[in-house]
Assembly symmetry: C2
Homo-oligomer: 449 residues x 2
């Protein structure tokens, strides 16, 4: 007999949790659709050749790989076996892996289907991804990402559209946020004027951690690769410039830096046209870890809750190049549904009415009433209401207890009297009020409420 359990880093969800999670996904999905984004779907299993090398060495380590079926050792790298070299053996016994994010599969998808898609193309996907990270609180090996991207256009309207969309999502979810915006070209400009061109990647990786580890640690990190302390302090000073015009002045000797400022200005002009509910602020120290970003970048933080970023994205000029299609510029946003779920759970932000599934449960006093109730349940469902029925004529007390624990708004109670008079007793489970109505009256009542 198997002892039941689930893998570390994965989760089962109870009905209430599923309803809560669906509320988040449905809210985000409906806003994606409202902005013209189209749903696409890619397989959970991708060829390892698609995934490997796209997320850095660390990412490659974190890919879940699927063992080839059948007698996989027969075709395995025999030398790797002899030397017990796991890393080398893998590619000969595993061809497939679980997707690590929704971005690389999307790039592959655009390349493979470029003749079936019209560019510019807006797509969304709300699907699980897998990472073999060490499981810990709030970090899972299997989790949902919610992405929207528009590819095939350099227009800065898209950045404003996505920030507008993001603003609307968090307004709908009732989570006050700050949306931070920067531009990788501004960072390049700062690196340029500070003489950090050659260390640009290390520079962005380090300042990405400014929030978490503080200025002194960042300086240490960059000193370790040979950057002078004064250079770093100079760069950090520039990163904290608050106005775009001052920054423009400071970057007057960097073409790319000026371009970054101009893009941010154009982005803000677009955004001002439509307005926003949440704060949208320029933050020169925002870097985003991922190296494929090349233009505007965004990151969202909850205002009233200590938590890492809950959404983020940016523009990438050459995501599909790695699959052989050059010159497709795109911009995207990804919502961290798991963190959003954690915040909403902790702050009890789920609207109860949206989580309710069944409007009523039918309970019966005896066998005949049970059958009568079966007919009434069918009638109520025909009118579109979600109705549960206790599935056997069990002791009434037991049925009532079940109804209470199940959080049904109403119980429909049937005994001999109801049966004989062809009616129902409807009990409001919150206040205990009961009334006797016919099925048709109940339908009318519910339809008008």
């Amino acid at each position: 007999m198997s002892k039941p359990g689930i893998p570390k880093g994965t989760r089962d969800f109870l009905p209430l949790q599923v309803a809560q999670r669906d509320y988040i996904f449905n809210t985000i999905r409906s806003i994606f659709i409202k902005y013209g984004y189209k749903g696409i779907s890619t397989p959970v299993m991708e060829n390892l050749s698609t995934l490997t090398g796209k997320y850095g060495d660390e990412g490659d380590q974190l890919l879940f790989k699927i063992l080839n079926n059948g007698d996989y050792l027969a075709k395995a790298d025999q030398e790797a076996i002899e030397e017990r070299d796991s890393a080398r053996l893998t590619s000969s016994i595993s061809k497939r892996g679980l997707r690590y994010d929704l971005t690389v599969p999307f790039a592959r998808y655009v390349v493979m289907h470029r003749n079936e898609l019209q560019l510019p193309f807006r797509r969304y996907a709300i699907e699980p991804v897998w990472r073999a990270d060490r499981p810990q609180k709030g970090r899972y090996q299997e989790f949902i990402q919610c992405d929207a991207d528009i590819v095939g256009t350099p227009g800065l309207m898209c950045e404003a559209e996505l920030v507008g969309l993001t603003d609307e999502v968090f307004k709908a979810l009732n989570i006050p946020v700050i949306i931070k915006v920067n531009n990788r070209k501004v960072l390049m400009g700062i690196a340029e004027v500070c003489g950090l061109n050659e260390q640009f990647t290390e520079f962005t990786v380090a300042i990405d951690k400014l929030d978490k580890i503080g200025e002194e640690k960042v300086i240490e990190e960059l000193k370790a690769i040979g950057v002078a302390e004064s250079t770093v302090r100079n760069a950090i000073e520039l990163l904290s410039t608050e106005s775009l015009s001052k920054l423009n002045q400071a970057l007057k000797n960097s073409e790319v830096g000026q371009q970054g400022v101009a893009e941010l200005q154009e982005f803000h002009n677009y955004l001002d046209l439509i307005g926003h509910s949440n704060d949208v602020v320029f933050d020169g120290s925002l870097a985003r870890g991922l190296s494929y970003y090349t233009g505007c970048i965004f990151e969202v933080k909850a205002k009233d809750f200590e938590m890492g970023s809950i959404a983020g994205g940016g523009r990438y000029d050459d995501l599909t190049g790695v699959f052989g299609l050059k010159g497709v510029s795109g911009v995207g946003i990804s919502f961290g549904a798991e963190r959003i779920y954690d915040i909403m759970s902790a702050q009890d932000l789920f609207p109860k009415s949206k989580l309710m599934q069944s409007r009523a449960i039918v309970l019966a006093m005896d066998n005949e009433s049970h059958k009568y109730g079966f007919v009434q349940a069918a009638k109520l469902r025909k009118s579109g209401f979600s109705i549960d029925q206790y599935p056997e004529p069990a002791k009434f007390k037991k049925q009532m207890k079940y109804a209470h624990q199940g959080n049904y708004p109403f119980a429909i109670i049937i005994g001999e009297e109801e049966r004989v008079n062809n009616c129902l007793t409807v009990r409001n489970m919150e206040n205990g009020e009961q009334s006797r109505v016919t099925c048709d009256e109940l339908i009318k009542l519910w339809k008008s409420s």
Copy 2:
């Protein structure tokens, strides 16, 4: 550079296909919810100890197994490596697998969460499963199952409820079907009176194929394991009994057989109370391959389309026993979404209005109009409409071509005149009719239509 491709047996879906598939899933889900079923969710990755041994030897072969991360060879079965014994090595280098169906994970779930769930418990799940079957037309390695089950009650109301639900699903999808019903106890009774008790499993497996391979091949198959031809013919004769009362007479010497007939009778009595749109017929030769069924069984076939069964299910008395919880009787139905999709595609059964995502696309004649359009799009979205906008002020002809190919019902066209007069030109993309309205007028018009 990776050459893009996806694993055999998996699929990418284009936006229209996603909309079509979502239509199927949403239709089924909304009916599950209407009948009081609650959504649950289990991980894609399960421990192999949960999956192995639950689907027979063949099933074990078809499980996708996930390679342990890190230096997996260090902890591997060294003897198995030396002997290049793939089958034996697997358990020491792979702890997890992809779920093979939604039923075994559900049984595990009920056992693990029995203190958090109220029995009887109705659950639904619409999620992908994986099987390393040889890919072929209509058979995929990654596909969606749609299951509803009610566990913790022996009441035959449940069987009728599920058949009623099934009837409603196919009515909603506009696919005329025949719902076949039988009871495994009837089959046991027939086996008993024919002296086939000891070969019951082989008997059910063979008659399950009666449709496909015909009577003579079934006789051959059972002769091969030592059953006399006359016995098989006798059993097949009984299987084709059309009325329950005749069958009751024929099974008068089998207690289990009589019980099966009585259960079918009670099921039909319940079903008659609520009626049904599609044919529900008793079919004594219906066996269902899966060995865990113990009571009523169902199978659904499309009436006007040559295709295997598109839904099926039945009662199982001890699904959770294998995980240590005895005595939980349940009954479930599983919809074959992929086959349903194939039928609906072939017969063009998708209602177009349900597949439409964006109501309009905003097109602009020049840069200023593009900005004006950006504001109008935001306004229309605020009123709840799904609006796309061509994301840059490209050549108008190019934008118009894009709008035509994108199947938008309306295009909202903006040029200098519209801008100056603060209005929009709305073009019906089907008939080419154009009218000039203000944004508020358009909102009013659309809200009333």
